[in-house]
Subunit: 119 residues, 2 copies
Amino acid sequence: MTSTAAADARALPHPAREEIRLEAVLHALSDPMRLRIVRELAAVSGDELSCSHFDLPITKSTTTHHFRVLRESGVIRQTYRGTAKMNSLRANDLNGLFPGLLGALLVSADRQAARLGEG
Amino acid sequence: MTSTAAADARALPHPAREEIRLEAVLHALSDPMRLRIVRELAAVSGDELSCSHFDLPITKSTTTHHFRVLRESGVIRQTYRGTAKMNSLRANDLNGLFPGLLGALLVSADRQAARLGEG
């Protein structure tokens, strides 16, 4: 009971699947850092990655902002596990709403990174 | 000569295909009005539509701003024809750079519009 209540108190707000909007998803992915986070999450399939896993060339508060934009748009799910905030891609929700979009976005991002020599 | 020079003087700046960036395209499409413009242009295939064709519930200056964002991101091409500014989707450029993305975006936008009863 206590641990459930504590977990609930720390639960972060997420849009339900039917609340996710295409425009918000596209806005979330229109930033290079957020696109990079999504590519890394996609690379581990359904696995979770902690925020500290990401080695981004930006401040901690900017990183937190980017994760919040991704969560509030419905692109990622964030869950506390102990002291770590874990992140996973909402691939099932996105694929259900927007068939083929996430795949096309990831392929496009990969191709652009290769083209620009960013690996 | 004279008419060519006049046309050049009025030519609007566009990114070359290789200058188009995925993040800028996604940002351009992250606005409901701009997404609507792109859907209308896609519906007429490669045809051009004048700015005045679009009956958007926004001011003329905001409309001009949206078309400029679409042009500068590489999503549309804008050309003067007499006094009209004509717009067309840069589908070939986008499909060459980002295979499958434009199609998936349009399908997603259609599905969302149907789901939200926006036709």
